[in-house]
Amino acid sequence: MTTALRLVDLTVSYDRHPAVHHVSAEIPAAEMTAIVGPNGAGKSTLLKALLGLAPHIEGRIECSARRIAYLPQQAEIDRSFPISVFDTVLLGRWSRFGGFGAATKADLHDAHHAIEAVGLAGFERRPIDTLSVGQFQRVLFARLLLQDADLVLLDEPFAAIDAKTVADLMRLIQRWRDEKRTVIAVLHDLDQVRRDFPNSLLLARELVDSGPTSRVLSSENLLRARAMAEAWDEHAGACEMPMRLSA
């Protein structure tokens, strides 16, 4: 098993309050890993830190990925903006044409193909504000398909999505795994994690456990995560845990 990602004593804080606290873990390459934990456990923050978007990071992230694709929570996108499904998907090729270059015939062809693959053929010219939440999530997955990344980060990909759409999108994720891409997804549905994700990382600001899902999602671990969530102190003093200098 090769490692795609190694977190070394990672602490990410907002306004000095740690959202992710002294987390060390390894995430296997070419495998599907779920990040699980209660609300406010730092799951989205961890993804943002992997993307280099977190405000303040201590510790280390070692990442061997060449190209990272990221599916944000839908709330981060202005759905009222007048842009078509096709243009949104085509943006997945940004790394090819950048802000100023032209899309090639191959890019346009691949965009059509990706839209078909997510089951939205015929929707190309529709503005995104006419789509349902599930349809829009399919659009974002089509964009991920075009990004051709070796590390795919998904932030709550199935929030407010119906069972049929979840099944369709799951097939795409499994295809990525078969293509040797590393997939990391923030998820809340534990049954789904147990069924589809062989690896898990259970987070409650601090790491509860990481490794094979069957071990990580034990009832003791879940209980511990909940207890840690309830014990959060908003008026904590400075952290006295010494930062390890090297690992």
């Binding site: 978007l53 990221y70 078509s84 940004w94 802000g99 100023f100």
Partner: protein, 289 residues
């Protein structure tokens, strides 16, 4: 008769011709800026930015008298400073950007009025606040047309990153691209337009030909390009009709132009083809699927 009312004023008077050309240039570049201001939900911030030109223009006035290049340069520097300071304050403190814009613009307006009153008369102040489009001379015209050209070329250059920064800023960030850079480039183009509009419509109404047609266009079209294509002729129409009305009725031209643009907005609000009052009140048969 029609010739007398619609064309003769432009045929006979150079100042009317120059004003018309200035309106044309402002309409073409301003409407594109206006559409993006609306889509970024920045219409009020844009307005605040226009008012923030005042202290710079006033300083230019204090040092160079009623010289347009001096006042324009001062206005541009003051506008950019306001945009940058507000943006930086919002990024580094808990203050939201709209609040910091409001604070900056109130400060700027008060400082500007004070500076003008140090040297100028009430007429000068009126000119700076409300513009004097009939006083546009060749230098001013070159300035207006020049900034319109720069604006269009600049917008075309940053169009794609700007669109993505508008609707999904996180996407650019994840690619390691600084979307804020395009945000500030856009603000610079917006300020440039306001400086151009300032001679014609004054700092208080500079956005009249920028925002009103763009808002009106949003009741007719739903893409960035089609909104701009509708807004630009509407802005020019307001400018031309406004000039004629003010010529024949002896009214101040700036407010008349802006009021005609408001009328276009009102008509669009009531009768536009999408999301308008008419569209809301009519109950067409719903479709089968």
């Amino acid at each position: 008769m029609i010739y007398e009312y619609l064309l003769q004023p432009f045929a006979d008077f150079g100042f009317m011709r120059r004003a018309l050309v200035a309106c044309l240039a402002l309409s073409v570049s301003g409407s594109a800026i206006g559409v993006f201001l609306i889509l970024r939900r920045m219409s009020l911030m844009g307005d605040a930015l226009a008012h923030a030109l005042l202290p710079g223009a006033a300083l230019g006035f204090l040092l160079g008298g009623l010289s347009l290049p001096a006042m324009s340069l001062g206005g541009f520097v003051a506008g950019m400073a306001t945009a940058l300071v507000s943006g930086v304050v919002a990024r580094f403190t808990a203050m939201r950007e709209d609040a910091s814009f409001a604070a900056a613009y109130l400060t700027a307006l008060a400082a500007g009025v004070l500076i003008v009153s140090l040297k100028g008369s009430a007429v000068d102040l009126m000119n700076i606040l409300f513009g004097a489009i009939l006083g546009v001379d060749d230098t001013a015209l070159m300035l207006v047309v020049g900034s319109a050209t720069i604006t269009l070329a600049g917008l075309a250059a940053i169009y794609r990153p700007l669109v993505v920064e508008c609707f999904n800023p996180g996407f650019l960030a994840a690619l390691g691209i600084r979307g804020a850079l395009y945000h500030y480039l856009f603000l610079a183009l917006a300020v440039l337009n306001m400086v151009a509009a300032f001679q014609a419509l004054g700092t208080l109404m500079a956005l009249g030909l920028v925002l009103l047609p763009a808002v009106a266009a949003s009741f007719w079209a739903r893409e960035v390009w089609s909104m701009t294509l509708i807004a630009a002729p509407m802005a020019f129409f307001s400018g031309a009709i406004g000039l004629l009305l003010s010529f024949h009725a002896g009214l101040p031209s700036g407010p008349v132009i802006v009021l005609i643009a408001s009328l276009c907005f009102l008509v669009s609000l009531l009768g536009g083809s999408r999301a308008s009052v008419r569209a809301r009140l009519s109950h067409p048969v719903h479709l089968r699927g």
